[in-house]
Subunit: 577 residues, 2 copies
């Protein structure tokens, strides 16, 4: 921390300065493959957010250029993603009707707030806050959100005509009750798209591998399937005029050209209304992008800086707000594709942006006859594998508290609200953690054979001394467990069988205690003085240096008596027995 | 837990059945002494709550009979207390004007809700929840609340005429700005009362002790000082008609007789409005009473049951709601007086109730000329010593996190709101605890001389092995610290000086790890696989039995390799070096 980096620090210099010609092929290949995935996905996700499809394209341009300049993760594909899109819809659907200009402006505004929150958090180095969302909460949240996404897409996939608003349960009931009214042509188109996507995902890859194709040859074909579905769907719909003859819903007219400069709404009241949602989208979006970036960085043997990532994520979102977009983040699946296709540097992302600009300027009319059912199929196949029941099962086997947090988050997202779900889940996970540490494991220990090792009398054949009760508290002492520990020690003394000699010494083995807060220090003091009147003395062994230093400082060691503290349990038991 | 107690379980049977004649003198003495304290205090606290003085008397009757029948603490004096009274005022002042029947009914209703919450929590055995309020939060909260109480009493003490509503800051500013308008007669009466109370509290006790009086003789005189102040103040005011000639505010007419059956308001909307306040009053009230009860139980060598206490506290409050009272709890100071005066059983509390009934039925007219300034003096002297700056100072020296939680709670109570203050404080204390455990102490350890003991290389002269990096993580592994620990281990490897041999083994000493949650298990798995590619192997020593069992169960031990786990660090270092 002796020398400050020159401001503004542009992490991109590191890859721009060291750029080598040999990177170029990989970057261009990755740029093309990702674009073919991105164009249909970004339009589909925008529509999932209740926005016109071009908003998804706009959100894939400037942020995809801004991010690689400020981020430390080199191969992250930034743009619209499913979960953020759902959260945007959930936040602003109640504020303005979908399809209005106000709705689009609210989406811009939320992107701006998401960006501002992230930049401020990054500058204040608050990236660590993300750690308080446990794996269980994240997995439960994403799984719940993606189920909502899939159910919302059944409408388009089967041509049901479910009204856009309402809670998940309402949408689900409505969808199921309309199942008898499916549009047959739409359903055939949609389900065929699903079949093609599934076939290209794995069976085709396996077949080509058996034919001796290389990974590099297979990848563009496998990952090009969404583009194929878009082209086939559009041609068939156009050829048979399915929109007019069979009522197949199509994307329709998309204005050509870039969005130009757009302005988020600067209004205190609207900001207050959107703040909670923006915070949730910022946390979830950042986390999703960061997880993707980190996974790839690990594979590439690189390091990424959480706080700089937060700033880059924030700048990308602010740039989205001023260029007609909506909240973006690093898309895990597209980033993995970019990495697999040979993407080396941020140039891959910039090339994607260039292709998207070309698309927006010259090719939007080609999407007129694109059926919405194909986009629904693309979304469903993109997200269904991310629904994470295996993690739930593993948690159930390993740690019930994590499984409960998973289920609570999942249920809250589905039954209550997407935004509220993640906050509720985070609180549950923290509460369960606190509950666990409030009733710690306390072992009564004895000597193992003639060694200097002491172990739990319930798990090992050990020798104990009749007058000494040696206990190891397997937790830090703090306010939430002070009473529990006090009761446990009292109980341990009063539960002693009458035929045994009376206990004269209690030895607390402190090897697992990393701090003692004031509440539990007072508990210890009152316990020591209460047992003194019963002629039972307290001793301590294996107190860690940082804990001992603080006990010295507050005078506890002097009051209790320095001879009551032993370096090891072995020495303590020799002296006390 | 083999045989259920007969329902309804009445803990009072234990003392009623074993009652001995020799207890009677102590119980009667305690009953009389406590009554002399209770009568002025209960009227004063009711007025602090914005209620007519008789409400305080009513709240001292039925609850004081109900509590000893259901509670397990034998010498707890239940009735109105300062902090609960302040919280009641803060909760309902904005809902109805003081002095109206509606205001009184809201106070009844809040007592009912407090009681219902407590009974439900007691039945569900949720008494442990109280442990999540740390000592720092409780001390900061009570100190803040009592400062508000004292400032609010300056108005009455000096006869300023400050308007009753408004925040603490407004009241403080108003009080200070009106200091030039003090009522001289009122002030002389009030400050003389303060002087008498202070003199009786300690100097008189010391003098009588020097004269050879016994504790039992001194106590009724010392603790009778509030009654003396009331009598003197009333006589002087009546004698000189100070209410008319000098504008001294008096208590005025108090209706004679019991309140009869009163009904709380049964209205869903009002309940919702009052619920948060009722919850806060229930938690704080229960905690205050329980702390008092426990302190005396410890002195008497008795045990009290937290959940049964919660039920008794609840029943006392429900009974207050139906008998014209308002929220009550065990008053620490009056309980200590009862104990000191020789109170043995719940009969002392019942005797107090009987004397209060007599007072309400026959003596209320005696209080007509009682000046409010005397009551203000009684409140101020009763509470000022409980403002707990010494605890803040101690925490500042011992544990900054506790001191910060104290200050945050204190500031929130004074600057924001009494109810919000305790919730804010509790959140801050938990957040600070989580923050601390999210950045745990990690020690790189080495062998101490030739012993089997391993200690921190920063604190001891120890021998390390060049190829083995042995680290002891002094904290449980859970989601909030998984990333921190991962970074620390990565850093420890990359920070190794180049002139040293490369590390081939990392040994995690797990003696301080009491659980590993799913998030950190996944972190460990990814860390192990990342280091494997660098040819660095992971080993574990001193894994506790409960942790080991779970690692076995999920297959972690088999995947990592059973030979990677060592019973002791000593064995591990011998094998790995």
């Amino acid at each position: 921390m002796t020398d400050f980096p020159p401001l503004p620090s542009l992490p991109a210099w590191s890859w721009i300065q060291k750029y080598q010609a040999q990177y170029l092929v990989g970057d261009i290949t990755a740029g093309i493959v990702v674009t073919s995935l991105l164009i249909p996905q970004s339009m589909a996700y925008a529509m999932l957010a209740g926005l016109p499809p071009q908003v998804g394209l706009y959100a894939s341009i400037v942020p995809a250029i801004a991010y690689p300049l400020f981020g430390t993760s080199k191969v992250l594909a930034v743009g619209p993603v499913a979960v953020s899109s759902l959260m945007v819809a959930s936040a602003i659907t109640k504020l303005a009707p979908q399809g209005t200009e106000e709705y689009v402006n609210l989406a811009l505004t939320i992107a701006f707030l998401v960006g501002a929150i992230a930049v401020v958090m990054g500058i204040l180095r608050l990236g660590f806050l993300i750690n308080f969302l446990s794996r269980s909460v994240i997995s439960g949240f994403i799984s719940g959100a993606l189920i909502i996404v899939i159910v919302s897409q059944l409408d388009h996939l089967l041509g049901l005509g479910v009204p856009a608003t309402g809670s998940f349960i309402e949408t689900l009931v409505k969808t199921l009750s309309l199942m008898t009214h499916i549009n047959l042509t739409t359903s055939v188109l949609g389900l065929s798209s699903v079949a093609i996507l599934l076939y290209f995902n794995q069976p085709l890859v396996d077949q080509l591998k058996r034919l001796g194709w290389s990974e590099a040859q297979i990848l563009p074909i496998s990952k090009g399937s969404p583009l194929l579905v878009v082209i086939l769907g559009t041609l068939i719909t156009f050829g048979f005029r399915l929109d007019q003859t069979e009522g197949v819903e199509i994307v329709g007219a998309i204005p050509a050209g870039l969005s130009g400069l757009t302005m988020p709404i600067f209004d205190q009241e609207i900001w207050q209304t959107l703040l909670a949602a923006a915070l949730a989208i910022a946390l979830v979006g950042y986390m999703e992008g960061f997880a993707g970036g980190q996974a790839i960085a690990t594979k590439r043997g690189e390091e990424i800086d959480p706080n700089q990532e937060l700033i880059a994520f924030g700048i990308a979102n602010i740039s989205a707000a001023f260029s007609g977009g909506y909240p973006v983040t690093g898309a895990v699946s597209r980033s993995m594709v970019s990495f697999s296709a040979g993407g080396n540097t941020g140039l891959a992302s910039i090339i994607t942006a260039v292709f998207t600009i070309v698309t927006v300027m010259f090719l939007t009319s080609w999407f007129y006859f694109l059926p919405q059912t194909c986009l629904a199929a693309i979304i469903i196949i993109a997200v269904y594998k991310l629904i994470d029941f295996p993690t739930l099962k593993r948690m159930w086997n390993y740690d019930k508290a994590d499984a409960i947090a998973w289920l609570c988050t999942f249920a809250a997202v589905l039954l209550w609200d997407v935004q509220a779900g993640i906050i509720f889940g985070a609180i549950i996970a923290i509460a369960l953690h606190l509950y666990r540490t409030s009733q710690p494991h306390i072992a009564i220990v004895g000597r193992l054979d003639d060694s200097a090792n002491f172990r739990d009398i319930l798990h090992y054949e050990v020798k104990t001394s009749p007058q000494v009760l040696a206990m190891r508290i397997d937790e830090n002492l703090y306010f939430a467990n002070a009473k529990y520990i006090e009761s446990f020690i009292n109980q341990a003394i009063s539960d002693r069988p009458n035929d045994q000699p009376e206990v004269t010494s209690i030895l607390l083995v402190c090897s697992a205690i990393n701090f003692i807060d004031t509440s539990s220090l007072e508990m210890l003091e009152s316990l020591i003085s209460a047992f003194k009147s019963l002629n039972i003395n307290f001793y301590f062994s294996e107190v860690k240096s940082p804990v001992m230093d603080k006990l010295e400082q507050i005078g506890f060691v002097n009051v209790v008596g320095r001879d009551r503290f032993f370096f090891s349990t072995d020495i303590a038991m020799r002296e006390l027995s």
